[in-house]
Each structure stands twice: as C-alpha cells, then as structure tokens.
C-alpha cells in the first residue's frame, strides 16, 4: 500500500508517517490519562447524516432522538423524525463506529439527506445549528457543502460550535475546491489511513487535514439491520469522533481546542517529554 498513495492519506501512510513525530511534547499526557476507563457516558453525539437506524444492533439502543430538516417552507424547520430511519445506511455506519469505541455515549440523529432536502447546504446548516443548540458534546459530519454562498453561514456555525463547547469532527473531502465546514480551523478534519486498527490515529501538523484514522475496509453497520465493508474518509471521521467522545467523557472540562491537543498528544508517533 505504501507505494500506492492517495494524496490526502499520504502523510498517514508508510514513510510519510516519519514527518508526524514533530508534535510538541505534552508532558504527562498519554492515552491512559486521556481515555483510560472512559466509555463515553454523559456525552451526547450528534450524527448529521442520512439518519440512524434506531433498532440496528450496532447502535446499542443509544439513539435518544431523531430529527430531520424540512426545507419546504420559507425557513428550514427541524422536526421530529419518529421513525428513526436511515435513508442510505451511512449515518448508521457512523453511529455504529462511535458506539463501538464509546459504548455509553448517547446519539441524536439529524437527518439532512432524504427526499425532502437531499443534502442541500441549507438543510445541512440548519441541522448543524440545531445540534449546537442541543449542546451535543461531539458532532460527526461526514458531509460538507461546496456552496460559496453558504461560506459565511458555515463560518458562523463553526465559530458558534467552538464557543458553545461543541466539537465538530468532519470527513475531509478529496475533491478540489472549497468544502465547508471541513476546511475551517476549529473543525477536526479527518482522512483515512490504511491500518486495520480503530485505536490507531495520527496527527498531521500540516492543516487542513490534521488527523488520520481508520477508514479502509471497515466492517460497518448499514441500512436494514445489515453490515457492509466500507472505505472512505467518511468512515475515518467517526473513529476520531469516538475517541474525542471518550476524552470529553473523562475530562468534562476540556474545550474543543484542548480535545484537539489531547488527540494530537496521544496520536501514533507523538513525542513524549
């Protein structure tokens, strides 16, 4: 695989990893301190995606609420989606990954895809706004918008999340051009590495894609109670979201920037003081 590198994963694969050891030493911070004994309890994780299948075994009954964004009216409206459905399977895959890492965390699903809004930037922005209002500790976003017109909206939302202590974890987009909010500095942007271990993550000191996590051939939950094997950055993001959930559960006082620092300090290859 090392001779076979896609650009966005290059820093996290093979020889590229040697450049990642420059991370500033963080003294006593290690994984035992950061996440040892944590199960994610007390943390609400928002899944902004295609929905989450409430009864899927991989979600462990941890889905507490499902909403969807309705953009048929003048203003986007967030309303309950009592069915607890996933129109694709992707949101359930993300929730399943996070649940496997942080089994006591609770989920709220914000469906921004579907027949009514199918991934329109406006629905996505309204869903993100709602997640921030709910006080989610972590929000997993496997999608982003390319709309230049929505740049200021997403910029405001990313800042609002940061100031409200909501950590945004977003999958990097490998298509050239703008992609919001995944390119904003306060957001944790994640690409896939090729190692078969959910507890291996890397910190890349060259933004915008600062973290690499498992995202190749991941056995994930899918629609209809099923499972599937999946590859892509959008399966790497929930791995980092899961670890961040463990950190936030164990250290309730830490802020999004501190979570990022702890993730960097406990990444593979980080130097110790």
């Amino acid at each position: 695989m090392t001779s076979d590198l896609p650009a966005w994963s290059e820093p996290f694969v093979g020889e590229g990893r040697s450049a990642l050891a420059r991370v500033v030493p963080f003294g006593a911070i290690d994984r035992e301190w950061a996440i040892g004994g944590s199960d994610g309890s007390g943390i609400l994780v928002a899944i902004i995606d295609s929905g989450v299948e409430r009864d899927h075994p991989a979600v462990g009954g941890r889905l507490t609420r499902s909403v969807m964004v309705d953009i048929s009216g003048e203003d986007p409206e967030v309303r309950d989606d009592p069915g607890g459905i996933d129109v694709v399977g992707h949101g359930t895959a993300c929730a399943g990954i996070i649940h496997s890492l942080a089994p006591a965390a609770e989920f709220v699903s914000i469906r921004v895809l579907g027949p009514d809004n199918r991934g329109k930037g406006l629905a996505f922005a309204a869903g993100l706004d709602w997640a921030i209002e709910q006080g989610a500790g972590v929000a997993n976003l496997s999608l982003s918008s390319r709309s230049e017109a929505l740049f200021p909206t997403f910029h405001e939302l990313a800042d609002a999340a940061y100031f409200a202590n909501v950590l945004l974890v977003s999958a990097a987009n490998n298509v050239p051009g703008p992609s919001y909010p995944s390119l904003f500095a306060s957001v944790i942007s994640v690409a896939a590495h090729d190692l078969d271990d959910p507890m291996v993550w890397f910190y890349n000191p060259s933004p915008p894609v600062e973290f690499g996590a498992r995202g190749v051939d991941v056995d994930v939950a899918w629609r209809g109670g099923g499972r599937i094997v999946a590859t892509g950055n959008s399966f790497a993001a929930p791995h980092i979201a899961g670890i961040a959930t463990l950190i936030r559960a164990k250290h309730p006082g830490v802020t999004p920037f501190e979570v990022k620092a702890i993730l960097a300090a406990t990444a593979q290859g980080a130097r110790k003081a």
Binding site: W8, L113, G114, G119, N174, W222, R223, G224, V229, G232
Partner: protein, 269 residues
C-alpha cells in the same frame, strides 16, 4: 403545434423559428454526440485501468429530479444505460448529494442492498467505488466502478484514481453545457426580436420549437441524423477535407432547395 400561424406570429416568423429550432436541435445532437463520446471513452478507460466488470456515469437530470445512467462500459455495464435513481436514495444518491467518495465491498452479504442495486443497475456487484463528478457549481453526477477482477475491494488509491477520471468527465460535461446555454440564450434573444416578450408568447415559442424538433425525431430514418453524426466525427478531419465536404454539401443543399421533398420534415411543414 398547430398549423395556425394566426397565433400572433407571421408565417415568416414561424418559419424562421422553426429553422432556428432545427439548427438548435442539430447543434444539440452534435454537442450530445461529442460529450457522450468523451464520457464513453472515460468509462472505457476506467474499466480497462481497474480491470473492472463495469463502469458507468450517472448525471443529474433536473426536469425528472433523478440521476440517469448515461454511459456504461464493461461486460456487466450495458444494462445500466438509461436506468435512473432518485438522488435521495442509495449509494449513488449519497455520493451525489454529499460529494463524498466511497467504496463498499462484501455487498452481496446484504441481500437487500444487492437487490435494490440490481433494480437500479441490472447487475449485482460484489464491490463498488462511487465518486462524485464535480464542476465549479457543485456535484453534477456520479462515476461508479464495479468489481475489480483482481481484488475483492477497492483501495484508497482506487478512490483517488476514479476521482481523476470523474474530474475529466465533469470538465467534458460542463464545457458542453456552456454550449447549450449559449443555444438557449440565442433562442431567447430571437424570441425578443420577434416581439415575443410575454410569458404566454414564450411558451408558444417553446411549443413551436418543441414541435419542430419532434417532427425531426420522426425523420430519423431519413438519414439526416446519421449525417449529423458523421459531421460531428469529421471535426477531426484536416481543413482541406472539411472544405471539400462543405462544397459538396452546398451543392446538395442548393439542389434540395430547388426540389423540396414531398414529405418535408425539415423546417416548415
């Protein structure tokens, strides 16, 4: 359309509009032929590169609000052409709406997925990579590659390679859309020149143009569109050959104007 030129347009204006419609349709077919042949060469190359069972490109079609499979390659790909899926469903819809490239494998383990997929593409794959076609305005479609023969799954590198092909396809499509937009602008400008400002009149222009091109559709067996196809292909010919063919066509056109066909499908009817 009716043959009543009385609907506010003079017979001359009507004839002119129909003539424009004919030329727009010819331009559209020329453009369609060229952009589809580029897309076809892209899926052909994709199948060869990945040693895949199939590759296809679905483009978003605003009037029907569906993703329509326009071209396909590979032994298992042909059944997909013309099929369509809603952008709110399934892997193709997800990749279209989110712009996120994905690869899935072990798909047959999920029978429901496989069945749904087969309904959509007429082939049940084991593994799929789907990447978005993105132009400067956003996502316009999806490139899919099914079943790499030498491997059970698609790698990160495969996703990136497929994305390169998708970029080529998006460039081909957006350049052809610019041409089509120019054609629409021309039609609108001509409508204005004919004093056709009101919405009702615009609808009438559309109707006339539509009726004129529908009549052309019935002329398929006439060989006209075979000629258009050849003209599209002749873009690659050297200037001397093109000049020769142009002269020959001018002679033919003069002859045709002197002796109109009994069943005139081109221009006025």
């Amino acid at each position: 359309m009716t043959d009543e030129p009385a609907r506010g347009l003079s017979p001359d204006a009507l004839a002119l509009l129909e003539e424009i419609a004919v030329r727009l349709e010819a331009a559209r077919r020329l453009e369609l032929g060229s952009s589809e042949s580029v897309l076809r060469s892209i899926v052909d190359a994709t199948v060869a590169l990945f040693q895949a069972e199939a590759a296809s490109i679905a483009l978003y079609d605003p009037p029907t609000d569906r993703l329509v499979f326009r071209v396909a390659a590979g032994e298992q790909g042909q059944g997909a052409i013309g099929l369509s899926v809603p952008p709110s469903e399934g892997l193709v819809g997800y990749v279209y709406t989110t712009g996120q490239a994905l690869a899935l494998s072990d798909v047959e383990r999920d029978q429901r997925f496989g069945r749904r997929y087969a309904e959509q593409t007429a082939y049940v794959p084991r593994s799929i990579v789907a990447v978005p076609l993105v132009d400067e305005h956003g996502t316009i479609g999806v490139l899919e590659v099914l079943d790499k023969r030498e491997s059970e799954t698609f790698s990160l590198r495969d996703i990136e390679l497929a994305s390169v092909f998708a970029r080529q396809a998006a460039i081909a499509i957006s350049s052809s859309r610019v041409e089509r937009d120019a054609a629409s602008l021309l039609a609108a400008a001509l409508g204005g020149l004919l004093g056709d400002q009101s919405g009702a009149r615009s609808a009438q222009v559309e109707e006339i143009a539509g009726a004129a091109t529908a009549a052309l559709g019935r002329d398929d067996e006439s060989g006209l569109w075979a000629l258009v196809e050849q003209v599209a292909r002749a873009r690659a010919a050297d200037p001397a050959s093109i000049a020769l063919v142009t002269d020959l066509l001018a002679v033919l056109a003069r002859h045709a104007e002197r002796t109109p066909r009994p069943r005139s499908g081109i221009g006025r009817r």
